[in-house]
Amino acid sequence: MINLDWSALTAIGILLGVFTLAPGLIWLERRLLALWQDRYGPNRVGPFGIFQVIADMIKIFFKEDWIPPFADKFVFFIAPGIIMLTVLMSFAVIPIAPGIGVMDINVGVLFFLAMSSLGAYSVVLGGWSSNNKYSLLGGLRAASQMISYEVFMGLSLLGVVAMAGSFNLREIVNAQAGMWNIVPQFFGFVVFTVAGLAEMHRLPFDIPEAESELVAGFHSEYSGMKFGMFFVGEYIGIVLISAVITTFFLGGWHGPFLPPLVWFFIKLFAFICFFILLRASLPRPRFDQLMSWGWKLMLPLAILNLVVTGAVLLAVRQGH
């Protein structure tokens, strides 16, 4: 009974943590981008402009909740909810530190992959139900981009799974106590990072919403809190992908001297900043170029990585 209470408390704690982290991230991104682009960014509301996000949130809550008359109302309504739901659910399997985490299930990797696949529905349905040509194009792009990048996202993780011999995320982290996976699984790491970016459709993979081409892509028709959910969902997605990379490739909470929780957050923030830096520095490839890189470069790389990992593991085990 006490055990159950404890886990309920951590679940709520993590949920709140994610919800404060995401708006904080919006502020961080705006400030960092500004820093790298020789300008100030939000610096008026509160110390260093940190309350800007709160002001924006209040504004967005009070905006008219408008559904365009030509939209498919029900689907239009649920689409933003899906992305929030799937991204938040994914956090359930992330082991943050020993004893801190929501669920500890044996198919954690599969659960994460399943949730990110479901997340694709949100964008596709949102784009399709808006009944707007730009949204439709955005939705179409999102569908093909996410489906193809999902394929090698899964494949790139299999090397890690093979090394740990488990689908359980906690065991994967523990298996990295001696050496972080980023060393033996470097190619897996690269492929997964790229796929993760594509999955969260962040620049340079923001093709579904490519502003200069499709205005706002799949969420052109969304406003108010529904848009807010897409928006915050995207930022929670960045936190999620960074957390997942930390777990799979950077040894999760492992690290010398500092307590595990601190290590986890250091790694998490390093990746978040890296993603923001990417956004500040790269242009956007064209849709078909992205697909051909995916299928012709990333997929063979992921498969090769898996085959080599398997062969080495077999050889080592036979040696014993």
């Binding site: 020789d38 300008r39 730009y134 200069s212 205005v215 956007r284």
Partner: protein, 586 residues
């Protein structure tokens, strides 16, 4: 130029030799461009001869416009006619222009189209139809281009009012609003487009007039199959402010601020061809110091304009940061511009006969600092943008055309040089003493989006070179000519002799009276060749002000180079062309 004009140009003999039966009457114009009057019936064959058969032919239709002659006083023996259609051709081989004019009679006259000879005649003829009501027989789609389709009257006709207050009160009842909105509806059949092919239904995507990728109020209607462009219909005119009509209302002097706003990124670069055309009409020689100041300021604005293009082009392709760095650099240019002219984007600083003021104290220090600073930044941008592999993947091989196509479509500026033709107005038709400067004309080979970018980036370095030479060799002397038509005349003189005081008084109260005549002057602007064709009827205002803007033909070419590419490529192409909608619509 003037000396060449003393003898009969060779082309005149050739024309008269070739068309013995036709009446071909030469006309002297103040710009030295050979001008011939041809009968309406012979225009097509004469143009065909000049384009295809003549030795070293005139391949480019540089401009096509018309003049409403009905209230003109000083015709100087020119043929009678209510309207004149003017064809301005340019020969790259000869490095010469020729002007063919034909007189038309009647209230709403018509003439044969030349769209089968030049692709870019299509829009020019539509513009003439829109502005004058002159019909072009055989034109594939003769409809209004700049004015709304529901507009009544043709604005550049002399009877059309220039001000809203002359037009009666405006009202917008419901049925009028419905009618106007219905006129905006796109009907593919009107443009000869099919709604579906055998196996697919096409989607018509309305890109603009409000769209982050079009840089202004440009509307492109894309006919797409999936993401592939089948065809495009550009719809322009949203930025039309009647700048040419304003030229017939404002005095020669007070029109200068209007020119600034034609290519709103070009600043004084727009004043330049206008004041040069007026100076040709008035016969004003500009002192050397003013000439060099003018060159220096236009080159500064060239860099400023190219920086805006550079940043927004990168942004179109998804790179967020370059635009901020480049606008910061542009700000440094504006600080110099502000110190010199007092204005920033639209200083309206050139004057007929010189500039508005002399250079301020310390201008050279500011410029020196900038010349130190800028090359390093350009180098940084090379690694940030031009060498970026994603940037290359998005631009190399996209929207390519060759030299011949470029000339056929009337492309000038960087778009022409990117095809490998070294053709720069500054080198070929040196103006304002620019032939005294050392600089190179950058070219590239493939004529695609990447090459256009490459040429522009190099042009900025060449402009820096020119500015450095201006800095080192700024001549002493006055910044204004002492010709009486200089507006306003030199202040120091007006205080001393009565003659100058009188001209000053007239210039201020009425505006200068420019002697009758016709002149064309052009400069190599940042977007291409920007030309002003002015006709004076011996009055304080211009009789006809024709602005030959470079972006107009460039935008016309977009459908041609976009077919078969994807939606994303259209944005690369638009970005690489470097147009300004104010320059397209005027």
């Amino acid at each position: 130029m003037n000396q060449k004009n003393m003898k009969e140009p060779q082309i005149e003999l050739d024309l008269i030799e070739r068309f013995r039966d036709a009446r071909i009457a030469p006309q002297r114009s103040k710009d030295g461009i050979p001008t011939f009057w041809v009968d309406k019936a012979d225009v097509r064959s004469v143009l065909q001869y000049l384009k295809d058969e003549a030795e070293r032919p005139y391949r480019m239709l540089y401009d096509l416009t018309a003049i409403d002659e009905r209230s003109r006083q000083n015709r100087n023996g020119q043929p009678d006619g209510a309207f004149t259609v003017v064809y301005h051709l340019l020969s790259v081989d000869r490095n010469e222009d020729i002007r063919i004019k034909t007189a038309l009679d009647g209230k709403y006259p018509s003439i044969d189209t030349i769209t089968h000879m030049w692709h870019n005649a299509n829009w020019y003829e539509r513009e003439v139809y829109d502005m004058f009501g002159i019909k072009f027989d055989g034109h594939p789609n003769l409809r209004r281009i700049l004015m709304p389709w529901t507009w009544e009257g043709h604005p550049l006709r002399k009877e059309h009012p220039a001000r809203a207050t002359e037009m009666g009160q405006f009202s917008l009842p419901q049925e009028k609003q419905d009618r106007e909105q219905e006129a905006m509806r796109f009907k593919p059949e009107e443009w000869g487009m099919k709604r579906e092919s055998e196996d697919t239904e096409f989607m018509f995507l309305n890109l603009g007039p409000q769209h982050p990728g079009t840089h202004g109020v440009l509307r492109l209607i894309l006919q797409i199959d999936g993401e592939m462009i089948v065809d495009i219909v550009p719809d322009i005119g949203f930025h039309h402010r009647g700048a040419e009509k304003m030229g017939e209302r404002q005095s020669w002097h007070t029109y200068i601020p209007y020119t600034d706003r034609i290519d709103y990124l070009g600043g004084v670069m727009n004043n330049f061809p206008y004041v040069m055309a007026v100076e040709k009409l008035a016969g004003i020689e500009v002192p050397q110091r003013a000439q060099v100041i003018r060159i220096m300021m236009t080159e500064l604005f060239r860099i400023a304009s190219h920086l805006v293009w550079y940043g927004t082009f990168a942004q179109d392709l998804g790179a967020l940061s370059p635009v901020f760095f480049m606008f910061n650099d542009r700000e440094r240019i504006f600080q110099i511009v502000e110190a010199v002219t007092g204005g920033r984007m639209h200083p309206s600083w050139f004057r007929i006969g010189g500039t508005a003021a002399d250079l301020p104290k310390g201008w050279d220090e500011m410029l020196k600092e900038f010349l130190e600073y800028m090359p390093k930044r350009l180098k940084e941008y090379d690694t940030m943008v031009m060498k970026n592999r994603i940037f290359k993947a998005r631009t190399v091989g996209i929207g390519a055309y060759n030299t011949e196509e470029a000339i056929e479509w009337g492309v000038t500026g960087s778009g022409l040089r990117a095809t490998g033709l070294e053709w720069d107005y500054r080198k070929k038709r040196p103006y304002s003493g620019i032939d005294q400067f050392e600089f190179d004309i950058p070219t590239a080979d493939h004529g695609d989006c990447y090459d256009r970018a490459l040429v522009r980036v190099e042009e900025m370095r060449q402009s820096l070179r020119i500015i450095r030479q201006c800095l080192e060799n700024m001549p002493e002397g006055h910044y204004k000519s002492d010709h009486p038509l200089t507006t306003p005349p030199r202040k120091d003189r007006t205080m001393h002799d009565i003659e100058t005081l009188i001209t000053h008084f007239l210039g201020v109260s009425w505006g200068p009276v420019i002697p009758p005549g016709e002149a064309h002057a052009a400069v190599e602007a940042s977007k291409g060749v920007n030309g002003y064709y002015l006709i004076s009827d011996g009055n304080t205002i211009s009789y006809r002000t024709r602005i030959r803007a470079p972006s107009f033909p460039h935008i016309q070419m977009v459908p041609y180079i976009s077919r078969g590419e994807t939606v994303a490529d259209v944005l690369s192409i638009l970005g690489s062309i470097d147009f300004v909608l104010a320059d397209v619509d005027r």
